[in-house]
Amino acid sequence: MIDHLPILQVIVPLLAAPICLILREAQLVRWFTLIASLFAFIISVLLLQQVQTHGTLIYSLGGWDAPIGIEYRIDELNAYLLILVTSISSVALLAAGTSLQKELTERKELYFHVAYLLCLAGLLGILTTGDAFNVFVFLEISSLASYTLIAMGRDRRSLWASYQYLIMGTIGATFILIGIGMMYMMTGTLNMYDLAERLPEVQQTKTVFTAFAFFMVGVCLKLALFPLHLWLPNAYAYAPSIATVFLAATATKVAIYVLLRFIFSVYGFEFSFSHLPLKEILVALGLMGIFAASIVAIYQNNIKRLFAYSSVAQIGYMILGLGIGSKTGLVATLLHLFNHALMKGAIFLALAGVVYRVGSVNIKAFAGLGKQMPWTMAAIVVGGLSLIGVPLTVGFVSKWYLVLALLESNWWPIAILVLVGSLLAVIYVWRLVEAAYFRPALQDSAPYKEAPLMILIPTWILVLANIYFGIDTSFTVGLSEQIAVSLFGVNK
């Protein structure tokens, strides 16, 4: 059993999805999905333990060894993200039953859970596999499932958002397919580890450059790097609340994992950063993303859209850390990956509570909610402070490392820009605080009750995680540093 953990990680949610269709009973499906997700979480914790004691785990599918068969390869980077994805998915599912009851019909709820599990299986598959083509297949599994999740929103605009995401997502995935095809053409292998060994021989050919370019653009579309982020705001804004929580916290993070994996483990740091102006491109796009998306966020009246734009800005921070190209920069990226999932998870879950009671996420509806729904609003405020990067929250830790990395490389003007970018976050978070706490409640409506406990508890689990990991950084920082060392170490 313990030997088969890497494959179980993917198989459990993948098999759980069709079983949901057999169960049918809504209550049963809810519990079953939650149990499947918790099971995946336990597996990921065990995997991390194994990786830390035995080093990289290699699992050959069907007993066929690597160059011929497909292998699953788990090192610290994978294990770290596996924990992130499975834990967020479990917490979101805790709240799913209550929130979905309000937003979907019972029939749709069943299909929601099926799509959710398939999306989870796809994301976990991307993280575990060591085969480049498998990445594409799992990427499409998770993408197709997430288009479905988004299309289930109550508003008809969710259909349009999902369609746009489908067009852009498919273009991105096809670009990735072209990139993988060209890599195969030059090396005759699809295994990432093999690719890393054989690519240096053909490094100077135009085909490899083209493959790299196609692959990077495709992945950047998937991770919503500015200016390829256009699908994201509507998709997050009109999807069912729980789908937003899950996708905002995990999907883009997994795409960043693919980017890291190919830059560091497959192409190698040398090739990615010294032959191509990737550094400059990533830093420029990251900064533009931070500013453009934050400024657009300030003008949004739909709060879900506001935080969706803020997600684009936060992705900018992650890409900026990567673009610095130093170990500390990578640590900052890895930290922000984890921390941003916690912040956005908490905020979007709290917004799910608001949707449950108020039924609207327009900023006007927030007037006076600070008194009526104190716990929900407090969760959003803590999440917002974390976004800004106030000390004692996780946001501070990742920004600290980002600024540290920038100063180490003597890029202090960019460090200042990062801090200015945080001030923009203050503005959009403040707009919400002002509406919730300082504006009187609308006269014509009865006071709203606090969000139901089943939404509040998971929200506060994430809020407390925000504070806990902001104070005790040994897990996140320690692990990120280990990962950064191993990623840089491979290529030296």
Binding site: F133, I167, T170, I171, G181
Partner: protein
């Protein structure tokens, strides 16, 4: 001539660009999906043509054959075709739902209706 020797890649590029152009330029949702399919198919052709060995047969283990094509990309593309079919099916299903909800499959009409809706909510 070198230019014509690799005609398969020229076909791929032409198909890819025309598919991409259809996706960008057309406002009709169904036409967009057709463009997307053309775009994806061009990549399938790239994979299939690159693994073909001139004069090679199907990969059968036999004394009689020495030269055969590489089977792996063909198998890979079988998977990618399935993914493509799934994407198109989902896209068409969405188009049907959009038609029901908006009464149109033209991009500009949908965007106009969205703007009106947002305006009335303000």
């Amino acid at each position: 001539m070198n230019f014509l020797e690799q005609y398969n890649y020229w076909i791929v590029i032409i198909l890819m660009m025309s598919g991409f152009y259809i996706v960008i330029a057309h406002g009709n949702l169904i036409k967009k999906l057709i463009g997307l399919t053309v775009f994806q198919t061009s990549v399938f052709i790239m994979y299939i043509s690159m693994s073909k060995v001139t004069g090679g047969t199907a990969p059968i283990l036999s004394e009689a054959y020495k030269v055969y094509s590489n089977p792996l990309p063909h198998v890979l593309i079988l998977t990618a075709i399935v993914v493509g079919v799934a994407t198109t099916a989902l896209g068409l299903a969405l188009a049907v739902r959009i038609k029901e909800a908006y009464g149109s499959v033209e991009e500009d009409v949908i965007q106009e209706k969205d703007l009106q809706q947002e305006g009335s909510q303000e």
